[in-house]
Subunit: 672 residues, 2 copies
């Protein structure tokens, strides 16, 4: 069969071309909307071209899929240095740099130097300190990271154990890791890459503790990268994903640093050991929230990448029979397949609008803060912690469903889906573990709800808590009402209200009984999380509905986005129907209509499915998926990928000579 | 801090010992129940000791966590040969061999030789063929696998394209892979390990097709393992898990095999090219179902392993505050943590009883088949396809929830959870993709339901479909009724009945309209799957309730299992409350009671949680988790694991000299 080769056909797979030909809207128009205008799309394309014209980026994919941990890390160091050089050479703005990181789609080994270390210096150092260290950091004499999390302590910062004890004799801090559980554990770029770390530690002066502060600690020589005395540092081991980064551990044993290595913008220690604080900066706090906002955008990228792969593959994979007279249909024809993939497609657009709305609110709040006005901070905290948790949870789960919908092939690294899920999974844990974040949101909501009960006027995302529930009538009175986006949004709002109301009453009831407060709270944690989720779901649906309503676009684009929005809302009600029925936001009749609608919408989305993922406009190298490539030649690309498999380097694997052959000979000789 | 070392303390972590001290029941008693008696427990312990006294098995864990793909595969070949030698040396029964595979917990590189290849020969070969090939296979002259799946064709066997064309001149079959999508793709042990494969191919005689048959094809030389002419074979690439096995591809180009290499027990081709069939053997069919039955047992092992890790870690990890006066509590105290982990604990016992019941039914049916009685086959098919899908789906999802509940550390390979999820994920796809299996079950149920409607008397697992729904009254009349296991089981039964009933009516309605049958079916696929899931859930709850009811054990053991059973049923109603409300199996009042009960049960399970996972009695090497080790010294073991991390081999990683140092020098020289 000489014709069976792994060469990639030049033409688009006709099964995929057929899909593109029948799209109801202009894909390019939607792409511009997604990226915020034609100029931004163009800029992104230019950056893509600049990066991917270097053959290294294609080779990098192979190391990623097939290399050992150490090879992958090394390739990622190389990639970091390439990108850092381009960054300086082209004088990229922060926005351009962010775009490049998005295009690159997996983390750089040295990632934290620019995303955490330098911003933290800018935020926490005095002007004097900045002029020294920022310069060194920007010259890459210092390669730095941010070391907060400890082996025994994550989200709960008060529990951190690392100490910085001031020695007024020498005017130094003595840094120590007092116990095993106190060792820094997890910081990225710490294990092998960085020569400095910003270490979060409890300040101790004359035996008294003064809270957590950041200390700049040199870990390795700036000349030869050797580890300095008193420092033990290393990699924490292979992970499910993110192995391009050397997450590290750090043990400090009486490491002395000058007094000036404490970053003193927010608090100072005088040479004679006097502690002066200006309190934690609220601007600092706002900057920390930025990462949660960015996670929402990442969640959009993750689920839209997954949807792209799943839908393109489903349009070229043919399997089984629907019509017995016909050939095997594209699996995209099966209702069950649509039901696995289209929720991820709709979620992509939902999270696009939600993260865009959140980013705008963040930018507004940050501008206010710069002017000394902090009133939006609590609202922003509430929004960002809820949406960070909601978007990360839903996107990771949905991409796993999409991965499963691709059958066996979805399990191959070459499919890109497993690596996508595994690389995305940390979003659930980092920057505030999701359950903890949901509970912070719940507490905020409960406080606002209590305010509303006592007649306070609420604004912002929780303003609906002052509604009068007695006035609620399910706005879906007929099957056609189900397509009314405002009506669907109202249903989510009322469900959230009732979920909050119920747990608020329960907590109050338990508090008024003899229970200690912490017991009463713990008894209701599950329902508090439920309330925070219901609230977040409402916010996402509202953002989607409002985003589509406000959109200036051609009629076909608006039509298809309205269809997706309607499907997103209907699907959520169907999936969590118990919550909606319990809160009496819908009755059994309405639920049936909404479920029928949901199924009808699958059929309406079907013809535009490929165009809707094409609009995300991901480069093949960014997607890194044989199944999801733009040309749809999935089988050829799968076969091609095996050429880079180190297992195929030799016709006979070395283990044959080492183990299998001696074993076969021994067994053949001995009696059965 | 010279005291910070990675040496493992000799004593049990006191936080874990405290849990063990307060267990309400005898753990050993429960272990014997789980393994089917004291003798079986003892035998398993002996096998564990035999295996793990060889230090290779500890080293193997390190290669698994840290090695390259090729090193891992090589270690797995070595492991295969060690176990095969022991197998022969100790004359293990099939049951003992299965136990050894369970203890080893990841697949052997040569796994299919004994689990698929030899059984297939026994099933499909004539006595003559057996006497030749079985002997060679048992002597390991032949190392074989079973090659069915093709790149473009999985579950739908009729779609397979590989051909075996009979040439009466030479009395040979000519084996061909006509297209790219026809190449064999996925079979385990195919890429590098096997020298023979049982290839499923369409038989062609004189241009006419005679269906799929098995052909024994030699791929590699039995002397030097070189690939034979006309054969192209290799590894299909790295996967999310299961990288110990060389899943392979195979292209055959006019490979000629003797006529006698077609396995002819069920169908024959005479020398002059006459085709004689005895029809596919039903016994053959039953054997194929065995793997689905085994997947249910695997699902039990997966979720119980996950629960063991999650619960032990939650008992030694302390985080945040509940009581502000107290130290940081074990995270197991948090209601939200219990809600993440205890469903997996209860599910473990549910799947233990369900898989045990299924295995017993399989054995009974197989015994009947041996006597020529095939009447149980359809029932067994229905049970095994439903439970295979249900157990695999639920266990994989639940272990991922447990993994997330372990925070950041759950993401480390050393935690064992990610590798557990990734290794378990294929259960969803193999041996009949879950959705396809659910739909086969749904079709069976619909047929039975139609039978019941027309007055037929049903037996077996679907007998409840002849119930009169009008007689149903929710058996939970008060809050205390919720603890009645039979009542809970009745609720599941009615919910299943109503779900089946609704989709049956809908399909009938659509069929009676103008829709072509395949359109009507496709329109209802989502609801058909929903019905199959509702039915399977009922079966699992029923098996659990009946299993506990029938148990002969001490009162404390029965009490704790009843609590778990009650929690499992209540949790399912709470999680899928929409389905239960829609089917009116419960009303809003009952739902509220059941949810309250669910929360109370979390507290009741809490004191026995550690003991309940201890009872699974997994060896530390089998669990392969720093977080879940028996002694609870999780942090020490995490730190210890980094010693085997190749990234820590050198103080300065080679990439520093290759990339980082030159980069730093260049940047330092150039202007900012």
């Amino acid at each position: 069969m000489s014709e069976i080769t792994s060469s990639i056909p030049l033409q688009i797979n006709p099964d995929l071309q057929e899909e593109r030909d029948k799209a109801s809207f202009n894909v390019t128009e939607l792409t511009h909307i997604i990226y915020g205008g034609i100029e931004k799309t163009k800029k992104r394309k230019r950056l893509e071209k600049l990066l991917f014209s270097d053959p290294f980026f294609q080779e990098y994919q192979n190391v990623r899929a097939f290399g050992s941990r150490s090879e992958y890390y090394a390739a990622s160091v190389k990639k970091s240095t390439k990108i850092f050089k381009l960054r300086r050479q082209h004088k990229w703005t922060d926005e351009e740099y962010e775009t490049v990181l998005d295009i690159c789609h997996d983390d750089l080994a040295l990632t934290l130097h620019h995303t955490m270390f330098i911003p933290a210096l800018e935020r926490l150092a005095t002007e004097d300190q900045k002029s020294k260290w920022l310069t060194l950091a920007k010259q890459y004499k210092i390669i730095g990271t941010y070391a907060q999390t400890e082996l025994g302590h994550g989200t709960y910062l008060q529990g951190l154990e690392t100490t910085a004890t001031y020695d007024p004799q020498t005017r130094e801090f003595v840094m120590n890791t007092p116990t095993l559980s106190a060792m820094k554990w997890w910081p990225g770029s710490l294990g092998k890459s960085s020569n400095h770390a910003l270490v979060l530690a409890t300040l101790i002066i004359s035996g008294k503790k003064y809270g957590m502060h950041p200390f700049l600690v040199q870990l390795r020589s700036m000349d030869d990268h050797k580890v300095l005395p008193g420092v033990r540092v290393g990699d924490i081991g292979a992970k499910m994903g993110g192995n391009s980064v050397d997450n590290g551990y750090l043990i400090l044993d009486n490491v002395r640093i000058p007094r000036n290595n404490m970053l003193m913008k927010n608090a100072q220690v005088s040479p004679d050991g006097k502690f002066v604080t200006r309190g934690p900066s609220k601007a600092n706090y706002a900057t920390m929230m930025l990462i949660r906002v960015q996670i929402c955008t990442m969640a959009y990228q993750v689920v839209s990448s997954g949807a792209t792969i799943g839908i393109r593959y489903s349009a070229v994979r043919r399997q089984s029979k629907l019509d017995p007279q016909d050939r095997e249909p594209k699996i995209l024809e099966y209702q069950t397949q649509q039901y696995k993939i289209f929720p991820g497609l709709a979620m992509s657009y939902a999270f696009l609008f939600a993260s865009r709305s959140l980013t705008r609110k963040y930018e507004e709040a940050f501008a206010e803060i710069q002017r000394g006005d902090f009133k939006s901070l609590p609202e922003l905290h509430c929004l960002s912690s809820g949406l960070k948790s909601f978007c990360s949870e839903h996107s990771v789960r949905q991409v796993e469903i999409i991965r499963q919908s691709c059958g066996g092939h979805g399990y191959l690294n070459a499919a890109g889906l497993g690596m996508l899920v595994n690389a995305a999974a940390p979003m659930i844990t980092v920057e505030g573990e999701n359950t903890v974040m949901y509970l912070q949101l719940a507490r905020y909501i409960l406080k606002r709800f209590a305010g509303a009960m006592s007649g306070q006027q609420l604004d912002g995302s929780t303003s609906y808590l002052s509604m009068d529930p007695a006035t609620y009538v399910c706005p879906v009175m007929s099957e056609t009402d189900c397509r009314n986006l405002t009506a669907l949004c109202d249903i989510y709002r009322y469900r959230s209200y009732m979920t909050v109301c119920r747990v608020a009453r329960q907590v109050q009831h338990d508090m008024e009984s003899d229970m200690p407060q912490h017991v009463a709270i713990n008894k209701n944690l599950v329902d508090l999380v439920r309330a925070a989720k219901a609230h977040s779901y409402y916010i996402v649906v509202k953002d989607f509905v409002e985003g589509v309503d406000a959109l200036v676009a051609s009629a076909p684009v608006i039509k298809v986005l309205r269809t997706l929005c309607c499907f997103y809302a209907a699907h959520g009600i169907a999936e969590y129907s118990g919550d909606f029925l319990e809160s009496e936001a819908v009755g059994l009749h309405q639920l049936k209509w909404i479920k029928n609608l949901q199924v009808s919408l699958l059929g309406e989305i079907r013809p535009d499915a490929v165009a809707l993922v094409d609009a995300f406009d991901y480069h093949d190298i960014t997607l890194s998926s044989a199944l999801g490539c733009y040309d749809g030649n999935a089988y050829e690309r799968l076969f091609k990928s095996t050429e880079n498999d180190p297992m195929n380097k030799e016709e006979v694997h070395p283990s044959y000579y080492q183990y299998l052959k001696p074993f076969m000979e021994e067994m053949n000789k001995s009696k059965l």
